[in-house]
């Protein structure tokens, strides 16, 4: 049922256009400064008032990296000055204390994720202090299925770190690899051996981590079938429970680090598609399932199982098995999703630091969702997690008549139906096998703001 989708180069080429990734709907460009710390306190208060307040997910952003990877589009600060970790942690501790006060103590933390940047820029002692601080201010769930995950850069994982993480309660790790091809590694300024990567994977397994995810990227400068094929073989041989295969989005006008990439080494659209095809073939030949939106998992992994029983969800931290929770983000650029609201901390370090130093909650911008936003967010979530939209469910949940409410959206969807990406019945709109690689495009048909703002073309990365 969730096998790897077939590969149709012609279709993918035609639909390779910029589009949001929908880690949130509405997407971050809709957030405004009218939503600040007062609004944040209000949504937190209201969320505590639910008869069964949602459980909590915590995200902590660590922006620092020792070395700049040229492909990076994340929010990060390159430094070798390790003392910055300590001063950053001091402010995180204050932010955690201030924010935690807004949430009732009986709301269990079911999910914790450390992302970056490079979370392991903090040493094991500092990571321990961070987790200890969180556990003092929040109540960590002791449920079997709680997810404590961390992104690791294998090049900087010191001996003993993984064991220490396991003792802190971490049970999932995500490792950046991108490509093992030495030529590609040189072109993107990320030299990383198979051996040091394997060592971290082994350590995670030895210390009882429930899953290991590996990130790869296709479309990097200098990539080719032979090299990427070897990378895929090597990675698959380690049997990561989960795999993410992202498309490289070259947007040097938006992401400064990318200006260091030699554009002569970039791939033609044709060659880039060829790499995706290769990845899909190799993964389907080795038993992986396609979860959706760049993500693959082994059939026995919890994500695959959750998708089978309709229990898959997605938030800023990716796919998850946990039913909806309120998400609180800490650190520079972190995003929160509380009740029917989104909010984001300042993206630059000085602004975030200044807010904390002056005793304010560092909320930079955000938005309260209206009824239409909530409905469309629900629809897109269904599409991303179940590959289909349940028309009747949306009608009852949101008090609408689907066909008339979404008349314009369905017009936009018509060409996709004609191309066999989508099937529409009376009760479901389903992404076909071909459509599953283009969920972003299907979702885009239902994005109210995307069609208001057609004038700004280059804000989102291309789909493939």
């Amino acid at each position: 049922m969730t096998a790897i989708p077939p590969f149709d180069a012609d279709l993918l080429r035609r639909y390779d256009r910029p589009g949001p990734r929908y880690t949130s709907y509405p997407t971050a460009p809709q957030f405004t400064a009218a939503f600040g710390d007062r609004q944040f306190m209000e949504v937190a208060r209201v969320s505590n008032g639910d008869p069964i307040p949602r459980r909590l997910s915590l995200y902590v952003h660590v922006p620092f990296c020792f070395s700049p990877c040229f492909y990076c589009g994340c929010n990060r600060v390159i430094t070798h000055d390790h003392s910055r970790a300590g001063t950053y942690l001091d402010r995180l501790v204050r932010e955690i204390a201030a924010v935690a006060k807004l949430f009732d103590r009986d709301r269990d933390v079911i999910q914790l994720h450390l992302g970056g940047g490079t979370p392991n820029f903090l040493d094991a002692g500092q990571l321990g202090e961070l987790v200890e601080t969180l556990s003092r201010h929040f109540h960590f769930s002791d449920a079997e299925d709680r997810d404590f995950s961390i992104e690791l850069d294998p090049r900087y994982v010191a001996a003993g770190t993984v064991e220490a993480l396991a003792k802190m309660g971490f049970n999932r790790a995500s490792l950046g690899v991108q490509d093992f091809d030495p030529a590609v590694q040189a072109a993107v300024n990320r030299l990383q051996s198979v051996a040091e990567t394997q060592a971290v994977v082994d350590a995670c397994r030895r210390h009882g981590f429930r899953s290991v995810n590996i990130d790869l990227i296709y479309g990097l400068p200098g990539q080719n079938r032979e090299g990427f094929g070897r990378t895929l073989d090597t990675v698959i041989a380690t049997r990561p429970d989960r795999l993410a295969i992202y498309s490289y989005a070259h947007m040097p006008q938006m992401f400064r680090p990318q200006r260091q990439i030699d554009e002569k080494l970039l791939l033609s659209a044709e060659d880039k598609l060829g790499l995706l095809k290769l990845a899909i073939e190799k993964l389907s030949g080795t038993g992986y399932r396609f979860i959706g939106m760049d993500h693959f998992a082994l059939p026995e992994d919890e994500l695959s199982r959750a998708q089978e029983r309709g229990g898959l969800h997605r938030n800023f931290m990716g796919y998850t098995t946990h039913a909806e929770s309120d998400l609180i983000g800490f650190g520079v650029s972190a995003i929160s999703h509380i009740g029917e609201s989104y909010s984001q901390n300042p993206r630059d370090l000085p602004s975030w630091e200044a807010a904390i130093d002056s005793g304010r909650l560092p909320v930079w911008r955000g938005m309260n969702l209206n009824a239409d936003d909530t409905l469309r967010a629900d629809l897109i979530q269904q599409l991303m997690c179940q590959n289909r939209i349940d028309i009747r469910l949306l009608e009852t949940r949101h008090d609408i008549e689907f066909l008339s409410y979404f008349a314009e959206d369905l017009e936009r969807l018509a060409p996709l139906v004609a191309d066999g990406l989508v099937e529409i019945s009376e009760t479901f709109i389903t992404a076909t096998e071909h459509g599953r690689l283009l969920l972003r495009i299907i979702a885009g048909c239902f994005d109210h703001y995307l069609h208001l703002a057609q004038a700004e073309p280059a804000r989102f990365s291309r789909v493939i």
Partner: protein, 248 residues
């Protein structure tokens, strides 16, 4: 508007006009059965006026304010409460569309409690002295007033007994369900306009207990809860639990 209020509009009564009562009016049956329509009431100088909207957190009256009118809720939910000597809030009740607030003020001519809007509230206000005069001439209206008064007293007494948390919670949900149903709204699906702190305070339980009991009701298949939307999926099981409190 707050996110909670935005999710689903609370039930609102059909608007009345010069001649017709609003669909949720607490007195229309009593008046109409006596042959009085709205224009006749106006002739009798019973001032009936719509006031509001009040917004979430607005006070409608405060303890000690002069009492001149009783009011029926047309839309939204009103919470009444008093503050004890330590300044702690004691929730007295929640008033849904069609229900009357201010009945407990009749005796002293001052409001003995505070009333606050939990969402967007519109009221229908009746000047009380004229109403009382009219009741003397209209037995149906008098009976209706007595009925409302005794209901008001009865409601408060119900939770004074020695009931378990499960019984209190079940009775609370059933009471909301029945009151909504009485006004023509769904008995099995409704929006909780009060916070869990308010519910806990009203039921004399800890907020965590409210959530724990509801979570258990949910896992036992009695109810479904999504944020503040409640669906009762096994009415009979809930009635079993709430029976002793509601004295069915």
């Amino acid at each position: 508007m707050s996110p909670a209020a935005r999710r689903r509009p609370s039930p609102i009564a059909d608007d009345g006009d010069e001649l017709h009562f609003c669909s949720t009016c607490a007195f229309s049956d009593a008046c109409l059965s006596q042959g009085y329509d709205k224009s006749m009431l106006a002739d009798l100088h019973v001032l009936v006026e719509h006031v509001g909207p009040f917004h979430e957190g607005d006070h409608i009256f405060r303890e000690g304010d002069d009492f001149q009118a009783i009011a029926a809720v047309r839309a939204g939910t009103v919470k009444t409460y008093v503050l004890d000597r330590g300044g702690h809030e004691q929730v007295l009740g929640f008033h849904l569309p069609g229900e009357i607030i201010g009945l407990n003020a009749i005796h002293h001519a001052r409001y003995p409690c505070n009333a606050i809007a939990l969402d967007t509230v519109v009221l229908c206000r009746f000047s009380f002295p004229q109403m009382a005069l009219l009741a003397a001439r209209m037995p149906g209206l008098q009976q209706q007033l007595f009925r409302l008064l005794s209901e008001d007293i009865g409601k408060a007494a119900l939770l004074a007994g020695d009931y378990t948390a499960d019984e209190r919670m079940a009775a609370f949900l059933l009471s909301l369900s029945r009151r909504y149903a009485q006004r023509g709204f769904s008995a099995s699906r409704f929006h909780l306009t009060m916070t869990r702190t308010d519910i806990a305070n009203y039921l004399r339980l800890a907020p965590e207990t409210v959530s724990r009991v509801l979570r258990r009701f949910q896992s036992d298949g009695l109810i479904l809860i999504d944020r503040r939307e409640v669906e009762i999926t096994q009415m009979s099981a809930l009635e079993q639990l709430g029976r002793s409190v509601l004295r069915d």
